[in-house]
């Protein structure tokens, strides 16, 4: 395999890594991005050929706790630059959670009121976090899913179009551009240019589009793969089954090298396994991303697979994600 660049070498066993003190920040917005890239080792031990590695970008390290801080900041800053977001305007969007948290947090810092539309079955923690940042929530019918929130959001805006600035993460190119400008370059730098496969879950498609475009601009051979639920009826919060959903305007399937369908149950069990073997608690979409990254990695003889763990798991402790945990532990104990 290719020579590993010095910045990318594993620390020798027992060596203490150098601890770099955190920088001083003038605003929480300056803390967005530059998240760590973690090699997944114990979980892949003995499963992967020696020349194949998997890394995960830990987006839970963003101040708002998810990857969505990146597009949210870029959409709002672009709105200000273009004069569409200005004093007196209210930020309005439909979101089941992480984008809402990011918009609420960034809106608070920038001094704009925020109103969000979400299905009422979004997790309790998410609703409380959003409200803690001072934002207001409009609830849509849970049976209509995220498409129901999109429709209600349009209705609210159409009743008073002058009042609102709608970032519209599904159709705003600033969403994908955020990843082109930050996530992509970070992964390129953190892998010393050795990334061969990029695997990311798709909700709006922003992460996979923007990051994928940047990586392909550096090396056209890099494979960019989107992860989606294997059925329209699924439990992978934040993900869209594209064929059965309103397709986001920023999503261009022809730019992908492939799509990987993942089942909800296997993703949930991967979340449990990541906690117990790698010491990281993540959300269900990260479980799906890891299952997909493993599928890709197992098909390779050599390569560097990078995926994105979109958020951390603390927001999901009250959700269905943990319903099967005891059963899973029992099954594992018998092995």
């Amino acid at each position: 395999m290719a020579t590993i660049s010095p910045s990318f070498q594993q620390s020798p066993a027992g060596a203490k890594p150098e601890i770099v003190p955190a920088g001083r920040a003038a605003s929480v917005l300056d803390l967005i991005g530059n998240t760590p890239l973690l090699q997944i080792r114990r979980l892949t031990d003995g499963i992967l050929p020696p020349g194949v590695r998997i890394f995960a970008k830990l987006e839970g390290f963003n101040p708002g706790g998810s990857v969505k801080d990146r597009p949210a900041r870029n959409m709002l800053e672009t709105g200000v630059r273009e004069g569409k977001l200005r004093p007196g305007k209210v930020i309005l969007d439909s979101t089941s959670g992480n984008t809402g948290i990011a918009l609420a947090m960034i809106g608070a810092v920038m001094g704009y009121p925020v109103e969000l539309v979400m299905a009422s079955n979004a997790s309790r923690e998410r609703k409380q976090i959003i409200q803690a940042y001072g934002a207001k929530i409009h609830f849509s019918d849970p049976l209509e899913g995220s498409d129901g929130a999109i429709v209600l959001c349009r209705k609210i805006r159409d009743e008073n179009p002058e009042r609102y600035f709608k970032p519209d993460q599904y159709n705003n190119e600033a969403n994908a551009t955020a990843h082109f400008m930050t996530t992509g370059p970070e992964i390129w730098r953190q892998t010393g240019g050795e990334v061969t496969h990029f695997v990311a879950c798709m909700g709006t498609g922003g992460t996979v589009m923007g990051t994928g475009r940047f990586l392909k601009s550096k090396n056209r051979a890099i494979q960019v793969l989107g992860v989606e639920p294997d059925d329209p009826m699924h439990g992978l919060e934040g993900l869209k089954h594209m064929a059965s959903s309103i397709v986001p305007g920023i999503y261009h399937e022809n730019e992908l090298d492939g799509k990987i369908p993942i089942g909800t149950e296997e993703a949930y069990e991967m979340v449990y396994a990541l906690g117990e073997t790698e010491g990281i608690l993540v959300g269900q979409s990260s479980g799906a991303a890891m299952v997909a990254a493993l599928k890709v990695a197992r098909s390779l003889r050599e390569g560097t697979v990078v995926t994105v763990f979109a958020d951390s798991g603390d927001k999901y402790l009250s959700t269905n994600l943990w319903i099967g945990w005891n059963q899973w532990r029992g099954k594992r104990a018998k092995k």
Binding site: K68, S94, T95, S96, G97, N98, T99, M118, A119, N121, A122, P142, L143, E144, G145, S146, D147, G148, A149, I150, Q169, Y170, G203, T204, D231, P232, M233, H234, G235, L236, E237, G238, L239, K240, H241, S244, S245, T264, E265, Y268, A310, T319, N320, L321, I323, G324
Partner: protein
Amino acid sequence: MAVRVRVPTPLRRFTAGVDEVPAEGASLKAVIDDLERRHPGIRERLLDDKGEIRRFVNIYLNGDDVRFLDQLNSKVKDGDDISIVPAIAGGR
């Protein structure tokens, strides 16, 4: 026992796009079996291969989560309302 079942968007491909369908049965399990007869394919989305309610599926009987009732053995009466709700809203 005749009941009304509210169907979420991702399952409406089994109900010809209809959001509320009738079904019959004396227990939730019987209602789901009846739904399967009327709308083949729907049961597999609700129950796993052991016949238990899938982890990401919430079923409400007159507004109460059946996980806190008697699960699939929950008794059903004439005129009851059953809602099937995916555990997530989808879309970040």
